[in-house]
């Protein structure tokens, strides 16, 4: 694999990390497998695209996408999931129904064409890194991924909210019994996770472009990341993203038509030995 392909893999992994970290936060704490996460990603991309086009500002697009997707997440969590609390399977299937609605809604609003979020002037062109000329924007995605990782790590390990989230992942009932309003922690986590999907949508929309089945594609990658990394573990998502991102690039280089298969192999081997993923712990 050349340096160029390695960087492709790393930047894709960074995008996957942003999307999948939101997924695993919600999965780890609320025990909700949000299958609408891919649809939230796509919706975030479209909204970010619309705002970025109108205002001409990529940053505003990002903020708008995160806010809008957090709002949609709020509706999903408080308006719908509220009715099926505690029923794992019903929750999953409900989010799946919600994904279908969102996806179709996106088709109504933006149609079936593919869009690419405009890259700001500053990030256009390329840079010379490790002896190859590489698109600046993709390097920016890589940096953003690292920044998000650092921010989440700080949030989880060095703030009160983070401590509550970590405690909630281990034993939500105990946290509640010690007088914490765990419902509010749940809600904040859900909104944060959704916002990360929205951010991912905007970032991915600028180099993978946005089209009607993009939600399913990013969802299957996120699932692979979480299955490999394990539920609710930030480090797990990081390692999972790197593995899936690099393997996917390797697959695309070596067997372009069967790239999906290349992420499936390691997932299979891993599951045979660690059914809960690399960093997963039994609930």
């Amino acid at each position: 694999m050349s340096i160029f392909q390695l960087l492709n893999g790393l930047t894709f992994a960074a995008l996957l990390f942003v999307v999948a970290s939101g997924f695993t936060l919600i999965f780890g704490l609320l025990r909700i497998v949000n299958l609408a996460h891919g649809a939230l990603y796509l919706f975030g991309g479209y909204i970010g695209y619309a705002i970025a086009l109108k205002t001409g500002s990529f940053v505003l697009g990002g903020i708008g996408a995160m806010a809008a997707i957090a709002a949609i997440g709020f509706v999903l969590d408080q308006g719908l999931l509220h009715f099926v609390r505690g029923h794992e399977l019903r929750q999953v299937l409900l989010t799946l129904g919600f994904a279908f609605v969102l996806n179709d809604l996106a088709l109504v609003i933006w149609g079936g064409d593919s869009f690419t979020v405009p890259i700001p002037q500053m990030l256009r062109g390329g840079l010379r890194v490790f002896g190859v000329f590489y698109p600046t924007y993709r390097l920016f995605v890589l940096v953003t991924g690292i920044v998000v990782f650092a921010a989440l790590w700080l949030l989880l390990n060095h703030t009160r909210l983070g401590a509550l989230i970590r405690a909630g992942v281990d034993d939500a009932e105990m946290v509640e019994a010690s007088g914490v309003n765990i419902r509010r922690v749940f809600l904040v986590t859900f909104l944060l996770g959704s916002a990360l999907a929205g951010l991912g949508g905007l970032m991915g929309g600028a180099f993978l472009s946005l089209y009607p089945s993009a939600d399913a594609e990013i969802l299957v990658f996120s699932l692979a990341v979480v299955i490999i990394g394990g539920r609710g573990s930030l480090v797990g998502v990081g390692v999972g993203s790197l593995l899936v991102g690099l393997l996917n690039t390797l697959g695309q280089v070596m067997f372009p038509e069967l790239a999906y298969f290349v992420i499936f192999g390691p997932m299979a081997v891993l599951l045979a030995f660690r059914p809960l993923g690399l960093f997963g712990r039994a609930a």
Partner: protein, 321 residues
Amino acid sequence: MTMPRTPKPSRLAGMNGRAALIAATIGVAAAALPLVLSNYQVGLATEVLIFGILAMSIDILAGFAGRTSLGHGAIFGVSTYVVVYATAHAGVPPAAAFAAGVLAATLVAAIFGLLAVRTSGVYFLLLTLALGMIVWGICLRWTQVTGGENGMRGDVRPALLLTNTAFYWAVLAGAAVVTFAMWRFVRSPFGLTLRGIRDSESRMRSLGYNVPLHLFIGFTVSAFFAGVAGAMYAMFNNFVSPSTVALAQSVEGVLMMIAGGVGTLFGAFVGAAAIIALENVVSAYTERWQMVLGITFILIMIFAPEGIIGKLRAILTRKVR
């Protein structure tokens, strides 16, 4: 439900007299349907039967082993792809293509099963979903073989069954055999073991049952039936495209199964009929079937997770009291 059950001495393969009578009546009524339905409606009825089989195959796992699969649409679709490819591009006769399709689906599912039996609950759902998506991704990208986004067309249906009515009867006969087989399967000692695993995996393990092996066999058998449905669908449609293996296919199957009632087996046909009828009514007014499907899913999850039949039964018993 407290109905006095009098076991009849005349038993036909474990089926008591009354049940046999009901089954025969339904069978005759279903066989007579083409006499009163239009050609188009006969097509719909055929579709109900095919998807009923798919939903039943999902119910074998969901209702009797406690594992809801979101990958059965893909297994179904593998069979459809193989049947269309074999007849249209490899010149295989329909009957052999049908067998090849079912075999391929079963083999793919055996590989899936090896992985899936290690998981339960939500993880099972996630894993089957991811595996199904991989099938979809391959069908979409492997353009030389699958025709990519455009799919493949082929005259799959044997000459004998060219009319809608003849094909309907053939599918009905097939569905009857398959339904009986599944019913026997879930009532067999093996099926009871699966139920035991659903209720308490650790207890079954400590009783000395090989839990993963039972789940693996259960998964493969269930997939075999999904493959049969997929092969029938190939002959019904004479066309296959990635949407046949897409997540929506698995989701529709699961929705039909849930609408009919998890663990009721035959409810699958009721669920299939309800969803297909809804699809047709909705399609007459709007192109937004996906959205309606999603909303239906959300509503059923919130208000009637026990299925339409279960809900009606609950309402009726409440009234009686």
